[in-house]
Amino acid sequence: MKKILSLALALVLAGTIAGCTNSKPSGGDSALSGWEFVEDKGELIVGLDDTFAPMGFRDESDNLVGFDIDLATKVGEKLGVDIKFQPIDWNSKELELSSKRIDCIWNGMSATESRQKEMSLTKKYLNNRIVIMTIDGGKAVTSKDDLKDMKIGTQEGSSALETMIKDDDYDSFKDNISEFPTYDEVILDMQAGRLDCMVVDEVLGEYKNSKLTEKFIVSEINFGDDFYAIGCRKGETDLADKINEAIATLIEEGTAEEISNKWFGKNIVILEGYDQ
């Protein structure tokens, strides 16, 4: 009897383990890296949070749309590889990259200093700013001095937060900052009346504002420029260079400007390196 039981147990266990291992083989030769790895598979897996409008998100019919989707598709055409969009959770993007589930992060990601160290970034491809938005009829921000007495909301790990930390006046308002998982919660908390302002990059802020019935006010002062870049695995600079070349061609052809006008109503595509 006991033998039958242990046998049954062993069978169930074996079945579970077999069930997990015989799934699809991982694509590509994992010994390769960078552009060779991508070229060998014939596809570039672009990791993106598919809930991040207007860069990459799903429209009402569940299609992936957005500025980065259009640009990445064109880059794929130039490189001669298929682009596969892989939805990821934004908080796990570094793990997605290092576990080779994706080849690059391309999703309105700001080229912050820490990311320049952790990843092989492409050149900056989009010019953006960090702005302060307040509620209409609420407290206004005319100088950074005003932030001392205001409750500030922003997204955790965002470029807006990193820019604030680098700001000279940071110490005067750092205790007022609340960090949220996404800007959606920041907006909800603004509407709930707990926050006086949010610090956000302009592209995202303007998009959100266009959807709101009670518009936020963009303050006169801002925290300066913010640039987007595409992140490849650390050390895979050849892949980043390939993407740079493709974007340069798209800018020359005017395709990049077209895409930018379509999503932002103006041309904010650039291609700039970093100050060393």
Binding site: G19, S61, S92, L95
Partner: protein, 234 residues
């Protein structure tokens, strides 16, 4: 009077607009619901039977069977489900090269996690059966297998139904966790719509869908409980 009238007009207009918007949201939310249901059903169908051998194993007199079963239950009940998802989704490919897709990882992790909980529920059920029944069965000349499957387990099933249905309702809501490995279930789809349209309507609809699901499950478990107690004296 005029103001009251106007208030209702505005209210109805707002409601009509919300309903119109809800109609637009429905197709993608239904896609999310299908993923949620798939994870739920696959997990339930596999973890319910898988719990039994672990329950019996953790009561086994043989150390070689008992210890692994108890360690397994301890590990899967003792760590957050979210970390288990991370482990199978990210750690496995980094260390072993086995790369399961998000959905497979989600079902696999949920089955292992819920089997551990079900095992403990079964074990509790088995231990609640009076020792005298084993002795009675033995004196009637029944073998241990016959006693277990013919007498003990049928009674156990009836006793564990309430905690099982409780766990099942928790499972419906736990499926929302798999959005951390980017599986497009209901909550993730709703979050996408909230992000896109900067309106929380999608979350409200999602909450209503979860309520409907748990309501159906409650009815189902009531029905099962009645069915299993049909031989009991009134």
């Amino acid at each position: 009077m005029e103001q009251v009238y106007q208030f209702f007009i505005n209210l109805f207009n707002a409601l009509a607009a919300e309903l119109q918007y809800a109609k637009v949201l429905m197709p993608s939310l239904m896609q999310g619901l299908i993923v949620t249901l798939k994870i739920f059903i696959l997990t339930l169908v596999m973890s319910l039977p898988l719990g039994l051998p672990f329950a019996l194993g953790s009561n086994s007199r043989r150390v070689i069977i008992r210890i692994p079963c108890r360690v397994y239950i301890w590990l899967f009940r003792g760590t957050p489900l979210m970390l288990q998802l991370f482990f199978f989704y990210f750690f496995l490919p980094i260390v072993t090269g086995i790369k399961l897709d998000g959905f497979t990882t989600a079902v696999f992790t949920f089955v292992l996690n819920y089997a551990a909980y079900f095992a403990e529920i079964y074990r509790g059920g088995i231990e609640s059966i009076d020792r005298g029944q084993y002795e009675a069965a033995q004196s009637l000349g029944l073998s241990r297998t016959q006693t277990l499957f013919g007498i003990i387990i049928p009674q156990m099933i009836k006793r564990v139904l309430p905690p099982i249905s409780n766990e099942t309702i928790t499972l419906v809501k736990d499926t929302a966790l798999v959005s951390v490995i980017a599986v497009g279930e209901l909550i993730r789809v709703a979050r996408g719509a909230v992000n896109r349209d900067v309106k929380v309507t999608a979350f409200v609809i999602a909450a209503i869908i979860y309520l409907i699901l748990t309501f159906v499950l409650t009815l189902l478990s009531n029905h099962l409980e009645k069915r299993f107690s049909r031989h009991e004296a009134q």
